[in-house]
Symmetry: C3
Subunit: 420 residues, 3 copies
């Protein structure tokens, strides 16, 4: 995953434009990615697909003609969606178009202006402080015109009805944790899932933030009834602890799967309540959509100083964290694939497990987890309680509970009622 991130890092992505296309093309090498191009002006719910933005170059020169800010050095230097400009200005006039972080003077901030036309440059505050009065020449060689919004979709069909959405945003330029980490983990998860049998379907969406989610939802409104929930993956490369953010309802299949899968995760997992801000879980969790989509991150966005700055670079992420995040996604999917609701077919008293070889035949020496799990599954499986709920109520690991259910099912003591 680190290699993919290294390859994607230099590309200047934005809401729309060739940077996104280039990024999706690289993903398309390892997964089957359907590329969608949605024309500018397409109405999507309350929004309209914006004009497409592309940029060739941008710089600020001082009166000596030296390039003091250069898009070539970092694509963060230009405010995303900056309108084209060629002008000479005084420092005072220029200042209204400059963005810097006084508290982090060596870092370039990340800024965009998608829905109001303007232009601007971002630079390290230390560099900004060094600017002397005088005339400056600015150039933004960008194109903002009708075109398309581009997104990628990888659909992996399953044996049963119902699908889960795995969502990640692809609109951020050269920043690694936000969100090349999410892109890499989602792509690798898709690659793995494509190679294995699946009961559920999984739809991987690589889309620009906000407008991309809204566009997909608007164009697929008739498909939403088949969505059982989903997971937004973003900011999963830093060395912090894992964080699972619950969906709006807090009790969808992915919520239960995440809590079951991550209950005893090494290093711990912070579980936080839903809130209607953050990443695109807020679109899935809007009241008219109301899909139970949670989010997996490591350190929450906005709480680390590198967030949305040039310091979110290749050094900020680690291969171990990426691998750990992928493992967590894999564990969540495993629970989604396994969680079922069963009905006990011998519900009058306990069935005789010993006769079926499911239980120690020599009484009197206490119980063990595997046997407790058999009893819990039998006791709670009245056709309305799923395995994740049984794990939560019993305090037993989900895997132990699922193994017990499997053994009981094979012994014809359970029938499957529905998915978890």
């Amino acid at each position: 995953m680190l290699e993919m991130i290294q390859e994607l890092y230099p590309i200047c992505r934005s809401l729309t434009g060739d940077g996104v296309r280039e990024t999706l093309a690289i993903l398309g090498r390892s997964i089957e990615l359907e590329i969608h191009e949605v024309p500018t002006g397409t109405p999507v719910f309350d929004w309209t697909v914006p004009r497409e933005w592309n940029i060739r170059d941008a710089w600020i020169k001082n009166s000596s003609g030296d390039k003091i800010v250069d898009f070539g050095a970092s694509n963060l230097h230009v405010v995303g969606y900056s309108a084209p400009v060629e002008a000479k200005l005084s420092l005072e006039e220029l200042s209204e178009h400059l963005y810097s972080l006084p508290e982090q003077p060596d870092r370039i901030p990340y800024r965009t202006s998608y829905y109001e036309e303007r232009w601007g440059f971002c630079l390290a505050h230390a560099d900004r402080m060094r600017l002397e009065p005088g005339e400056y020449e600015v150039c933004v060689d960008s194109v903002l015109k009708d075109g398309h919004l581009t997104y990628g979709e990888c659909f992996l069909p399953g044996d049963e009805e119902g699908e889960y959405i795995i969502h990640t945003h692809v609109c951020h330029p050269s920043m690694c944790n936000d969100n090349l980490s999410g892109i890499a983990v989602a792509a690798r998860l898709a690659e793995e899932l494509a190679a294995q049998p699946r009961r559920s379907s999984y739809r991987f969406l690589f889309v620009p933030g906000t407008i991309g989610a809204i566009t997909w939802l608007a164009l697929n409104e008739d498909r939403l009834s088949d969505v059982r929930g989903g997971l937004v993956i973003s900011g999963v490369g830093d060395v912090g602890q894992l964080t699972y953010k619950r969906s709006r309802s807090g009790s969808g299949p992915v919520d239960r799967a995440a809590e079951a899968a991550l209950a005893a995760w090494p290093g711990g997992v912070e579980v936080e309540a839903f809130s209607p801000y953050g990443y695109d879980e807020r679109q899935y969790g809007s009241p008219g959509i109301d899909l139970a989509v949670g989010r997996l991150s490591r350190t929450p966005w906005g709480t680390y100083p590198e967030y949305h700055t040039s310091a979110d670079d290749l050094d900020f992420i680690s291969a171990e964290s990426l691998a750990d995040s992928l493992a967590a996604c894999r564990a969540i999917v495993r629970v989604l694939e396994t969680d079922r609701t069963y009905r006990n077919l011998q519900p009058m008293g306990e069935p005789q497990l010993g006769r079926r070889g499911l239980y120690r035949s020599l009484g009197g020496d206490g119980g063990k987890d595997a046997e407790l799990a058999l009893l819990w599954v039998l006791n709670l499986s009245d056709g309305s309680v799923c395995l994740t709920d049984i794990a939560a109520r019993s305090g037993l690991p989900f895997g132990t509970v699922a193994d017990a259910a499997e053994r009981l099912y094979e012994a014809d003591l359970l029938e499957e009622v529905t998915r978890g």
Copy 2:
């Protein structure tokens, strides 16, 4: 409010009688108060309006003819509703009619005997201990006969259906916190509310405790379906912390308004559960009435040593506490007037707030409370969640949430469904 209390302090109030009339007449100078006179013998639910009690004088003289207890010095000296008596008794006989507080030897207790005919005197225990054996002469020059129960009502109509009851008791003689404080704060609140536009109606009741509430309820049974809840105001002048006692259901509009209004109140607010004792919230909270009426007090009744003694005097209350209590009432009413349930008219994904000038247009620099509030209101406003609940779930101040709703409503993003 302190001036009003100073004027009301000397008056000898009781369940019925001229003291209540005189008190209501003083209130009537600043608010439009309708005076009701309910005849003795009127059946009110399980009760009957009692005889009216008035008293001119009362004293105990020792064998030397010195007045050792004198109603003229404090109206607490006489047990409320004492029957008339003129008699000579030994100290032993007299003692059966004396009440004092051994643990607070310098204070006169407050006692009543409304529903059993007797007579008695209250005095400081220190004075009682000084009584020597011998003959005493007692006089209670009272009249207990058919008359009326008197109460005052100030109704402030609002633009919409539904009213709130603001209730305070007027039956206590010369004690300031219990309940001249409640009378003064309720009267001032009525005066303020009368001068401003109102969505809801407010009915201020100045009534004797227990029998007054029951009388009003019995005579207005057909009106109760229009009552959305209410607030009992009592004991709001001492320097202790504010206390809000929840209504029987614990989740009525006034409960939500009080918790929203007082969430970050300077000095803090103690919130206590409903219990069927205390002041007249117990009548409103009886199972056949079941109106969601809470109570605002400062230090809870019965937990301060000055309670129901002569030490609950003008020195025991403070102008600052009265002002703070009034401010709390005002804040609760403001929430009642503002709390609404809305429906998001653009519920599919987030609406584009930037286009409407509701959101910073420059992305990437984190959120602020006002913007979070916009998102919370949009996310939870599915037509079933009111603003106080949104404030509680989001952890944002009610005012911020209400401002957000106002802005969204003006931008045609919300429609009003019902009151909170």
Copy 3:
């Protein structure tokens, strides 16, 4: 109860056989016990009544002909349900049939093999370590053949519909806490209850563990709808704290009664959640039966080292603990007999209690528990809240609440709606 336990202690009980019959015969001296004999082979839900097991003698002799393990010394020496055997074996061969506790080298463990035919001996690990290589002679003089499963039932009819099951297991050989303590306490409770008027019926079951409960349930399936709940009594003789284990629903009449009765129990009571293992509460709590049957124990099974060993002897239990456990049972039954749901007949405001002599007539001196209880019962008795719930919500002792309800009922202020 200690005397009864001393008498029962030497008897070799098992799932079936004469030891159980002898035990029930002794119980039958003090209570009216109906003895049921269910033939081997009777299908009971998923199980079949097993063959009957009886044993005369069993021993191991060393090569010198000395009995080194002797059933006559302790019936724990033989694995319960051991098949008959007469054989000579090497130490190595013998070892596969020996059970001991390395961590408790002086104690004989308790082992059974009900549902797989085998034979075996239990012995102190210290003794086992002393066995030298050589030839051993073993004898188990047992009979395992078609016969009966025996259980005892004592039904005490009440005045109203509905019964409670009091259940205890009688299948354990010479161990005192598990479960002669349960047998003795249940028998004494039955004796006491038989001598007093009862609103509810009580059915005492003295049955072998698991198969006994299942047998009774299978043979009485048509009667289960009349069962309102029940209590398993086991392990109630040790000196540890009382433990109440909730039924599967956690909110049945016995759960509420136990929590009300034991709320302020001297020494404290640990309340634990339901789990589908332990004693026969797991059969009552199976999903097809789902009767709200809790369990009363002292130190929970399996958590004390003496559990299922020869150290669970007459010294391990105490008369005080047995008496305390009986008192707890008695208290629970008292609540079951008393708990009712009432409807307040004067629900509009508070009724005038003073007029009925139910309330101090002299106002102004604060409340007491008995009066608070009157107010709580009146306030919550809307025909849906029972006295145990009123006790829980008010924080008042159940007895105080029940006394208040009794006084209000006698004053025609309540009507009885249903049992608690």
